[in-house]
Symmetry: C2
DNA sequence: TTTACTGTACCGTCTGGACGGTATTGTCAA
DNA sequence: TTGACAATACCGTCCAGACGGTACAGTAAA
């Protein structure tokens, strides 16, 4: 479904995505630091040789795991903020929406990122740069940059709790926060337009 | 310094703490998932046998790592909110202060927690329960529970970025947020008193 | 013929942890 | 006061198993 766009031609096989999904599952189930290639291959229904054909080293797999997560976000963001769309959103509104979806996903959908971090913290560098770019965009679009920053951090807190699968927030609390942020974003949008 | 209080008698040796600190360092340098007992022992200046004397299994070490982090917080919190103190703080104010200190600590001081998570996500269960208790306390003390919840999440976001050593925020941004939160907490405190 | 694998066999390294030993300190009866 | 014993706090070695990665022969579809 989500095209990674690494290759120009459309791939007939979907082994890469199967492997990526399997890696996230294994990471979730065995702990981020106990992700073995054998386990991933088995889970993906692929031979170890096949896995290493797609990802020549474990490091390449980890990097792809992070990139996979990023691409997913980038696609959503582009779609939601498309000015040609019927009702284009601000970046902040789109970010709020994406964070909601993130929390509603099956638990540990992003465990792959944790596995990458467990192997080598530097694998998170692209994620770090991505977050910084996003924050800059949110601040530059907003009427009140500090407010944008605070909203960003609230979502960061919410999603990080989810990433660690710490069910600290109830659904009601989550919803309350999300609604509050949406109001904030809406207000900021209208002020900016006025 | 910080007494864990596990033993009634004062320990003459401080091997435990040396090992805990070493584990955090190794975790930070080699990646949370690549923490080996040999490396920890070497870093701590202790033989492997000595390490295993203090922590009979790797799991015990990991649990201690999480507990160490928690105890540190608990001590600070108790001190800051002590009603007998000269200027007792609300739980929210203390939490803000602790989060500031957390960010000012040498980078990766809490990497031990990540190492524990990498080994087995369930090691974070105490941390999860701790956060839930903290949030409940913040909400119950506050005049505006939603505001307390949002403040909690802002700090959660800030500290999680720090935990991953993602330098997304500049020092000015961090300070701006912290000041804003402190104002919020102060206002809430005064309203509650009135 | 190329692509995209499967399957098996294997290698060198690392790891958790079991185990036996040892030096120091504490306890307590004679 | 001393000698006997025991608990504490380690040290150093060893090992079975797991891991990442290589090599290679085979195969089925496009």
């Amino acid at each position: 479904m989500a095209q990674i766009g690494r290759h120009v031609t459309v791939r007939r096989t979907n082994s890469r995505e199967k492997i990526l999904a399997a890696a996230a599952e294994v990471s979730r189930e065995s702990g981020a630091g106990n992700l073995s290639l054998d386990a991933v291959a088995q889970r993906a229904g692929v031979s170890k040789g096949g896995l290493l054909y797609n990802f020549p080293t474990k490091a390449k797999l980890m990097q792809a795991l992070v990139q996979y997560y990023l691409d997913d976000y980038e696609v959503s963001m582009a779609r939601e903020t498309d000015p040609n769309s019927a009702k284009p959103k601000t970046a902040l509104q789109a970010h709020i929406e994406f964070s909601r979806e993130f929390c509603e996903k099956p638990p540990g959908a992003a465990s792959g990122v944790l596995a990458a971090m467990a192997d080598d913290p530097h694998f998170l560098d692209p994620l770090c740069q991505f977050k910084r770019r996003l924050l800059d965009r949110l601040k530059s679009e907003a009427r009140d940059p500090l407010c944008a920053l605070m909203c960003f951090l609230v979502l960061e807190g919410m999603t990080s709790l989810d990433l660690f699968e710490m069910n600290v927030l109830s659904n009601e609390e989550r919803e309350l926060v999300l609604v509050r942020l949406a109001e904030e974003a809406e207000a900021d949008k209208n002020h900016a337009a006025a």
